[in-house]
């Protein structure tokens, strides 16, 4: 699951990695590969009842832009979500916890995080985060393998469809 806004520079990392995965690899039937944008608590239909979840997103952490950070479920949920004023603040933690009460929360979670450089309004990754894409893709592939559902490289990979980065004149 890729999260983030493609119109906000490095926040588009999640969708960018998803397009890269879809263009280059084939996945087991039991695996869904989704670009979900920034749905807040409305994530729950997608997570409900899933066994495992891999999230690709930018993360707030100390370090240099482009550095990769991995978090498991326990570490992600160690700090409770903050009080929300707007009900549509990012809702991954809240969704996981709400589903837990329901007994439908994925037991296994890995966040593949990258520290962003810029998140202004421009539909394009910065160079620092663009160069982190292969590492994030590898982390997802390694996790799928570990979960027993490895992806297979396409015999004829296509170019990732990063439609939001095409310039207006194209």
């Amino acid at each position: 699951m890729g999260l983030g806004n493609v119109l906000s520079q490095d926040d588009g990392l999640g969708p960018f990695v998803i397009q890269t995965l879809l263009a280059g690899w084939e996945f087991d039937e039991s695996v869904q590969v989704l670009d979900l944008g920034t749905p807040g608590l409305q994530l729950s239909p997608y997570l409900q009842g899933q066994e495992s979840l891999i999230v690709v997103d930018t993360v707030r952490s100390d370090g240099e832009p482009g550095e990769l950070r991995l978090y498991d479920r326990e570490r992600l949920l160690k700090h409770p979500p903050a009080q929300r004023t707007s009900p549509h603040d990012p809702g991954l933690k809240e969704t996981l916890l709400a589903l837990e009460l329901h007994g439908l929360s994925p037991a296994h979670v890995l966040v593949v995080g990258v520290i962003p450089a810029e998140t202004g309004y421009e539909p394009r990754l910065t160079d620092a985060v663009r160069s982190a894409v292969p590492g994030a893709v590898d982390a997802v592939l390694a996790e799928l393998e570990r979960l027993g559902v490895p992806a297979t490289r396409r015999t004829e990979p296509t170019e990732p469809d990063i439609w939001w980065e095409r310039s207006p004149s194209d």
């Binding site: 999260l3 926040d11 239909p45 549509h88 837990e100 009460l101 309004y121 939001w164």
Partner: protein
């Protein structure tokens, strides 16, 4: 005088900030501030208008569908392009399903815990809770067994020492008034609501190919090829899958959501007296019934000063009353200047100062209609519907008001809807009306296909020179409009005037507050450290300002969220 700042500085960019001054337990002054630059429209300049919806769909992660549909309507309006009826109906069913999903999520998962004390549910008698629930409706999920299971789940979470999602709740707050049994039945329904919002979302997914970002739109129609015998297209199987899902969601809305709002609301009668704020209302017509967009199933219009007698209709996709009266001002917004302009004439030149109580203090502009601040959202839509004589709206409003009156033991009327709880009640009423209209448009689609019409698309043509267009949609949070200037087939200017801008905008040049701000005036605040009452009123609008920037915060690097100064 105490100053309270509610500012969830949890992400890279700030979002909605609310400041209130409290004296003697009452809010005396208030400010609403959008903490994030909303200059997103500039990304569209120079692009092909046929692609605009793909980008606008990414403005917000919750309101994807609504920005997509408003965008194609806007370009079609600029080109004077009608779309086939199948396309109209398919869009309408998507709009209904999306809105039902959104409203169910809002009540149960985003705002119910402002009113429901989950910890108190532990001391409830499950039999009594089931009795109360069964007196409200015939819903099968109201059994004693369900109440017992729910209580056991809550007990399990509390025993684990990790309240999880509920860790930041206001449990035991003096403003929490529900008896334990009502808290328990509300928690049971909170859990059940997860399933039904998912079903509503599935309807959007069947028609839109994907959610949350649908793929089936085009300027000129939709991309859902129709062939009733082909597995790959929109066929009878898919149409009946949609109907089955609609059956299930409608029943949940009728037998759970609407009765819950009435029951919870009738136990907080005070909150029918707080939170009115701006009582000028704006709603746009929606669910078009013909290709030209001159007949609709949801009426639109304006009401001024809370008086339904002032109703004035907005009645077509080309409506001049709407087109000529929308302006946005920046007197108190972080942009260069202090103008108030029509969206086609606007520019976006950021000029940040700090937060100045009497100067500029928000990234949100101040929309005005005929120079008046307006409240938008389900309450506006329901009042406009009521004023226009819309039968379905009247049926559900009258039933809800009468049931709430008997539960609360006081005679309530339309005037009580101008309130914090009135917004919740109106949203529930609107959802019930949406459920009925979704059926209707499903039937219209099936009949139209049955008559042999399989058209889905009229190709757009872009003449040279300049065209101007506007499009609107009565979205879950209210009147959404997009405005475009096209020059020789390229976008020259694009502006989105979104519902949360109407509601969250700051003061205007005359110092008149926006709806959030005005609605907080006079609200009680029992404990300035725990301003639950402020959240109740703000949440009742279903604010959505903050979706554009995301960035997870796995390490809990949050700054204090409530400051009482």
């Amino acid at each position: 005088m105490a100053r309270i700042v509610v500012d969830p500085i949890t992400r890279i960019e700030g979002h909605l900030r609310i400041d209130v001054e409290v004296d003697g337990g009452t809010v005396r002054n208030s400010w609403a501030s959008g903490q994030m630059w909303r200059g997103i429209e500039t990304i569209l300049e120079g692009r092909d208008p046929r692609d605009a919806w793909l980008f606008t769909q990414r403005f917000c992660g919750v309101c994807t569908t609504v920005h997509a549909i408003t965008s194609v309507r806007t370009i079609e309006n600029a080109l004077n392009l009608e779309i086939p009826m199948n396309a109209q109906y398919i869009r309408n069913i998507i709009l209904c399903a999306h809105a039902m999903h959104d409203h169910i999520v809002h009540f149960y998962h985003l705002s119910a815990l402002d009113w429901v004390d989950i910890v108190s549910a532990l001391s409830a008698d499950p039999r009594r809770a089931a009795q109360i629930a069964q007196s409200l409706s015939d819903w099968p999920g109201n059994s004693v067994q369900v109440m017992q299971q729910t209580q056991a789940r809550v007990q399990g979470i509390v025993d684990s020492g990790q309240l999880g999602i509920f860790a930041n709740g206001y449990w035991g707050h003096p403003a929490m008034k529900l008896p334990p049994e009502v808290n328990l039945l509300a928690v049971a329904h909170y859990l059940q609501a997860l399933d039904y919002q998912k079903k509503a979302n599935q309807i959007v997914a069947i028609l839109g190919s994907k959610t949350p970002n649908i793929q089936n739109l085009a300027v000129g129609g939709v991309a859902n090829a129709i062939n009733l015998d082909n597995e790959a297209t929109l066929n009878m199987n898919k149409l009946y899958a949609i109907k089955d899902l609609l059956d299930e969601v409608s029943r949940f809305v009728r037998e759970v959501y609407v009765p819950d709002v009435i029951a919870v609301g009738s136990m907080y009668p005070d909150w029918l007296g707080y939170g009115a704020g701006v009582t000028n209302y704006l709603s746009v017509p929606d669910l078009p019934l013909n290709a030209a967009g001159t007949e609709f199933d949801f009426p639109g219009g304006t009401i001024m000063n809370g008086d339904v007698g002032t109703y004035r209709p907005i009645s077509s996709f080309n409506d001049e009353y709407f087109r000529d009266n929308v302006q946005e001002g920046i007197a108190h917004s972080w942009y260069d200047g202090d103008w108030q302009k029509h969206p086609w004439e606007e520019s976006t030149d950021p000029m940040y100062t700090d937060f100045q109580d009497n100067g500029k203090y928000s990234w949100v502009k101040s929309p005005r209609f005929a120079n008046e601040p307006m409240q938008v959202g389900p309450l506006a839509q329901v009042l406009v519907g009521y004023a226009s004589g819309h039968e379905l709206t009247r049926k559900y409003v009258d039933a809800a008001v009468s049931q709430a009156s008997s539960l609360a033991g006081v005679q309530l009327g339309l005037q009580h809807l101008h309130s914090t709880l009135g917004r919740h009640l109106a949203r529930a009423v609107r959802t019930a009306v949406l459920a009925e209209l979704a059926y209707k448009h499903w039937g219209l689609l099936v009949n139209n296909i049955g008559s042999g019409d399989t058209d889905i698309f009229n190709p757009p043509e872009f003449p040279s020179g300049e065209q101007r267009g506007f499009g609107f949609h009565e979205a879950p949070r209210g009147a959404l409009s997009h405005w475009v200037v096209i020059d020789s087939g390229k976008i020259k200017n694009y502006q989105a005037v979104v519902p949360s801008t109407w509601n969250a905008g700051p003061r205007d040049a005359q110092g008149r507050q926006g709806p959030y701000e005005a609605s907080l005036m006079g609200n009680p605040v029992a404990d300035p450290e725990l301003p639950l009452e402020v959240l109740r009123t703000v949440h009742s609008f279903d604010p959505c300002l903050a979706c554009a920037i995301h960035t997870l915060d796995p390490e809990g690097k949050e700054i204090a969220k409530v400051k009482a100064l």
